[in-house]
Symmetry: C2
Subunit: 230 residues, 2 copies
């Protein structure tokens, strides 16, 4: 009589952030293929399998639902309100992920998703269940995190014009920053190596220096922790 349907189910959800010059910081969402809330937008995610680690479950679901591979993955928060899913008691461990070159990774939905698409963080649709709360938690986390870890690099290519980094911060924080103070402080971290390449934007303007990201110093820094007020 102890039917397995009376057990709590365990799921994972992922908030995947990407950056592109044109759209700024965006989040990857899927359109649900099945009820409940068929065709509504949701975070990618699904049930954890027996014997599978939480992180493996997230990566598997992301592959299945969006075709994407993430570059950085960190646990965000576990949402356990028994009423968060109308069907049954489902506890979801939410993850926070960053991908490089958001616009150039091919999105291909299949299994449980009708469609997968990027939404800029200030043009988000209504989401199913408590997914808006999850997403807001993730946005709060990334905004906080960027102040004490140079995670911006996880969203950019290995080489990038300095202005990309600046635009990423502006988009993420949703406000202007002082270019002079920002560049001084960023360069002082010693995680950027200047290259001899230049980047010419389409349109007018002086070409900008291309930097590459010094992985070794970055890992050192990530361990120590930084204080990066902007």
């Amino acid at each position: 009589m102890a039917a397995s349907s009376t057990n709590i189910k365990l799921a994972v959800d992922a908030v995947v952030f990407g950056y592109s010059k044109s759209d700024g910081v965006s989040v990857l969402l899927i359109q649900r293929k099945y009820a409940p809330f068929k065709n509504s937008w949701a975070l990618p995610g699904g049930f954890v399998r027996q014997g599978e680690s939480l992180e493996d479950a997230v990566r598997r679901e992301l592959k299945e639902e969006t075709g994407i591979s993430v570059n950085y993955l960190e646990q965000l928060y576990t949402f356990g309100d028994p009423k968060r899913d109308p069907r049954q008691h489902i506890v979801s461990v939410a993850y926070f992920a960053l991908v490089k070159s958001a616009k150039y990774q091919q999105l291909k939905a299949d299994t449980d998703a009708e469609n997968a698409s990027w939404f800029p963080i200030n043009e988000l649709p209504k989401l199913v269940f408590d997914h808006s709360e999850v997403l807001n938690t993730a946005i709060a986390r990334i905004r906080m995190k960027i102040r004490y870890e140079p995670i911006g690099f996880e969203l950019l290519d290995r080489k990038f014009p300095f202005s990309d980094l600046e635009h990423l911060y502006i988009s993420l924080l949703g406000r202007d920053i002082d270019r002079r103070n920002f560049s001084r402080k960023m360069l002082a971290l010693n995680v950027l190596d200047e290259t001899d390449e230049m980047y010419k934007a389409e349109g007018k303007g002086r070409p900008s220096k291309v930097y590459k990201f010094n992985k070794k110093n970055y890992e050192q820094l990530a361990k120590e922790g930084i204080n990066f007020e902007i």
Copy 2:
């Protein structure tokens, strides 16, 4: 054939911190009454019930196993390694809790625990499963957290001599702090109101002023977030 024993089980564990003048910052542990690892020390915790929120489950287990009521409860991290428990795949959501007046709350073990006891954070016993990892995560969290939230107050009585606050920080950080800088910075937060009482320690020494904690200003501050480097 899909026996319910093949499902992932969901548990909660709690790392409860308390402070006393004599022992500094301590953690509440229980001695297991049943196998596996009967008589070994462990974090209090247990399975989440159908329809029960995670936080309710933590509070219930703490009551059952230790008789204690916590003052502050915050989610820490979810531990999901399928091999963390030798019996089966059990995912545990760990919580981080603070209690006032650790030494004066009556500990009474019953249900699943042989015994419950406080251990100073630098004299911890070996723990079962991955509980040492959970505990280390919690210690890292509280050490970090104390730098940007005045959570020290959650561990002290409503009124306390200033030196208690200082000793709490020393015990938690495991190193000496500069008394002059500490008190200047702490008082500048405006969350301490001076009372007209004095506290006479046993033994020698000048009596110290007794402060009380301004809840209103504290809540304001907690919202804004502080930067409290020591």
